[in-house]
Symmetry: C2
DNA sequence: GTTAGCACTCACCTTGATTGAGTGCTAACA
DNA sequence: TGTTAGCACTCAATCAAGGTGAGTGCTAAC
C-alpha cells in the first residue's frame, strides 16, 4: 500500500464522514484535488477494495470505508498525537464542574461531551478497589431509628436509616459510633461485616441496633447500590442519517435504557488511556455499525472512571478523541484533590458510587 | 346525542385504540354487532362528525375519534369508577418496593408502570412544604474536613463535605453538632441560615467552620439539588405506529432528556387524585397527540409525589388509570411509615429530593 | 503509468394504471 | 319515519414500466 493509496483512502473516509453517502471516484478527483483523473482514482479504489479497505454497497454506487479502513485511519490519527489538546479550552469553557454532587458533575460532563461531539455520551463514576472505612457515625433521626453514615477513604459516603427497638440518647449513639469507628476503621465493608458480631459483644447491650447494622452492611455488600450512569445526547443521535431506520433507533434506545448494560459496554478494562472500538471490533451485535471511543479519568484516591462517546462508525474521530482527552484531563484535575473539588472554599461530597 | 350514538362512538374509540387505523362503518357493523347495517352506522357517524366527536383524515378513509370524543369516553369511564382496583394485585406482584434509596424505589415504580401499560412512565419524588431541621451532625472525614449531615422531619438527609482550617477532634465536632442541633432544630433551612451568625457567636471560636457551613446552607437554599425524575419505557413507545414518524420520536426523546421540563409537564398542581389531559388539553404544543394521565401519592410527612403515564391520545385509558391508581395507593402505603418503608427490619432512607 | 471514452449496472424517481376501503346519496322498504 | 340496499364516487396505497444519473470496469491511446 503506497502513499498515494493512503491519501486517497483518507480522502474517501473524510468525505464519507462528512456526507454519509458512498463516495465516487469523480468526487475524490474533483473535491480533493489530487492531480489525478477519476479513472486513475478508480483503479486505485479497485485496489483498495481488494485490500479490504473499501466496500461497495452495489456495483453502481460509490465506495464506503470498511472497519479496517477506519482502524488504519484512527491508528494514524493517534500516532501523530497532535490532536490531543485541540478542544481543551472549549471544554473548559463549557464544563464548569461547579456542582456539589458527584452525580451532577458527571451529568454535566455527559452533557458537554454530547453537545461538543453531537454523539451519545456516557460517563461512569469512579470505581476501583473496595473502599476502606474511616469513620462510622450514627445520627438520631427519630425514636427508634438512626441514620448510619459511613465515611470511607475514597470520600464515598454510604448511608441508610436503620431501626432498632427501644430508645437511645444522642450521646449513647455517639458513644457507640466512636466504639464502632475505633473497631472498624481501616477495614473494608465485607471485613467489617465479618468482625461485627464480635465487636457487638464487646460494645455491649445494644444487640438489636447492631443486628440492624449488620443486616444493612450485609445487603450493601452483596448488591451495592447501582452506580449512576450519566448519559447525554440521545436525541442528538436521531438527527444522523444512519438513524432514519427505526430498528436501529429502537436498539439504541433500549441500550440507553439498560444503564448497567451500557456501563458494561463502555467501561474500560485495561488501564490504557484510550480505547477506540470500531464497528464489529466491540463484539457487540447491536453495535456493529457504531464506534465506541473511551477515555479514563482518575481521582486522588486512585479510583478510575470512564468517559465514552458512542457514534456511528463514520464518526468524527479527531474531534471525539480530542474532546474526550480534554474532558478526561479536566475530570482528573477536578477529582485530584482530597475533597474532590477544585476551587478554594468550595464544599463538596462524592458519594453514591460503589 | 342518544344512547345509540354513544354506543357507536364507544365502539369506534375501542377499535381505534386497538388498531390505530381509521374505523369504517362496515367494521363497526360487523365486529361490534349492533344489529345495524353499515349504512345506518354511516348516517350516525356523519352526525357524530358534525357534533365534533369524529374526524375524517380524508374523504375515503374511516373516522378517527377527536379529543372531544376521548374526553367523553374517559369521563364516562371515571364516572362508573369500577376500574380503580383492577390491576392492584398485578402491580403488587411486580412492584416490591424493596430498595434502600428513594431513587431506586421511584425508578422501580417507573419501570413497573411502563411495563404494565406499555407507555412512557414518569415518577416524581415527593415534594411539598419546606423540610424542618431535626438534627445536624458533623462527621470527621479527614484533617480539616467534615461531612455535614442534616436530618429533616421529612426524612430527607442533605449532606456535603465542608472544609475548615485547623484540626478538630471527633469529640469537639460532636459538641458543636449538639449545640447546632439544639439551636437550629425546628427551623427550616433558610431560617437556620439567618440565625447562624448569632449561633456562631454563642458556640464559640470555630468561626471558620461555621462560615463554611453557612456558605453551604446558602448555596443549598438558592439552588437545591434538582430532584431525580424517574422515567421508564421510552423505547417501548417506539413500537407504537404513531412513532414511525421520526419527527415525533425526536420530539419525545428531547422531552425525555429535559427532565425538568418533563417534570413540570407531569406535575399535578391541584390536589385532585387524578388528572387526565387529552391531546391539546395539555396546552403543550409537542403533546398535541399525546395524553397525559397522572395520579398522586403521599408520604407520612404530608409531602406529595406525582406518578404519570404519557401515551398517544388513543391510549388504553382504563388500563392506565387502573394501574396508576394502584401504584399511587401502593406508594402511599410504602411511604406511609415514619421510616418510609413497609416491612419490619427493613432499613431505608429517603433523600436526595428537595 | 495515466487518462479519455464508452458500455454497462443499478438505485432512485416519476408516471400511470389498478385496487380496495370507505363514503354520500338515493330510492325502496317496514 | 327510521332502516337498508345499491351505486357512483373519492382517494390512499400498491405496483409495474420507463427514464435518469451516478458510478463503475474495461479498453485503447497517450
Amino acid at each position: 500500500m503506497d502513499d498515494r493509496k493512503f491519501r486517497i483512502l483518507q480522502a474517501i473516509i473524510d468525505d464519507y464522514i462528512l456526507t454519509a453517502e458512498p463516495v465516487g471516484s469523480r468526487t475524490i478527483s474533483k473535491k480533493y484535488d489530487m492531480g489525478l483523473s477519476s479513472a486513475t482514482i478508480r483503479n486505485e479504489m479497485s485496489d483498495l477494495e481488494e485490500l479490504g479497505y473499501l466496500d461497495q454497497p452495489h456495483v453502481s454506487a460509490g465506495r464506503v470505508p470498511s472497519a479496517k479502513a477506519y482502524r488504519l485511519y484512527v491508528d494514524q490519527l493517534l500516532e501523530q498525537g497532535t490532536l490531543r489538546n485541540l478542544d481543551e479550552e472549549t471544554v473548559r469553557a463549557h464544563f464548569t464542574g461547579r456542582a456539589h454532587q458527584m452525580e451532577d458533575i458527571i451529568d454535566q460532563a455527559a452533557q458537554v461531551l454530547s453537545t461538543m461531539t453531537n454523539y451519545l455520551a456516557v460517563v461512569l463514576p469512579p470505581s476501583g478497589r473496595p473502599p476502606v472505612i474511616r469513620n462510622i457515625q450514627l445520627v438520631p433521626v427519630a425514636t427508634g431509628s438512626a441514620l448510619v453514615v459511613i465515611v470511607t477513604d475514597t470520600g464515598i459516603v454510604r448511608d441508610t436509616v436503620i431501626r432498632y427497638n427501644g430508645q437511645l440518647s444522642s450521646d449513647t449513639l455517639y458513644a457507640i459510633s466512636q466504639a464502632l469507628t475505633q473497631e472498624l476503621s481501616g477495614k473494608t465493608l465485607p471485613e467489617a461485616l465479618e468482625v461485627l458480631p464480635e465487636v457487638s459483644r464487646r460494645v455491649g447491650d445494644n444487640a438489636d441496633l447492631l443486628r440492624s447494622l449488620s443486616g444493612f452492611l450485609g445487603e450493601r455488600k452483596e448488591k451495592g447500590r447501582k452506580p449512576h450512569v450519566a448519559v447525554g445526547g440521545t436525541s442528538r443521535m436521531l438527527t444522523l442519517p444512519e438513524y432514519s431506520d427505526m430498528e436501529r433507533v429502537r436498539n439504541l434506545l433500549s441500550l440507553v435504557e439498560a444503564r448497567d448494560r451500557l456501563a458494561s459496554i463502555v467501561r474500560q478494562n485495561g488501564n490504557v488511556q484510550f480505547t477506540v472500538r470500531i464497528g464489529p471490533e466491540s463484539g457487540i451485535p447491536e453495535m456493529e455499525n457504531c464506534s465506541i471511543v473511551t477515555a479514563t479519568y482518575s481521582t486522588y484516591s486512585g479510583q478510575q472512571g470512564t468517559i465514552g462517546v458512542i457514534g456511528p462508525t463514520r464518526m468524527q474521530y479527531q474531534k471525539v478523541i480530542s474532546v474526550l482527552s480534554s474532558m478526561g484531563q479536566q475530570l482528573t484535575e477536578l477529582f485530584g484533590h482530597e475533597d474532590g473539588h477544585a476551587g478554594p472554599g468550595d464544599s463538596s461530597d462524592e458519594r453514591r458510587h460503589s
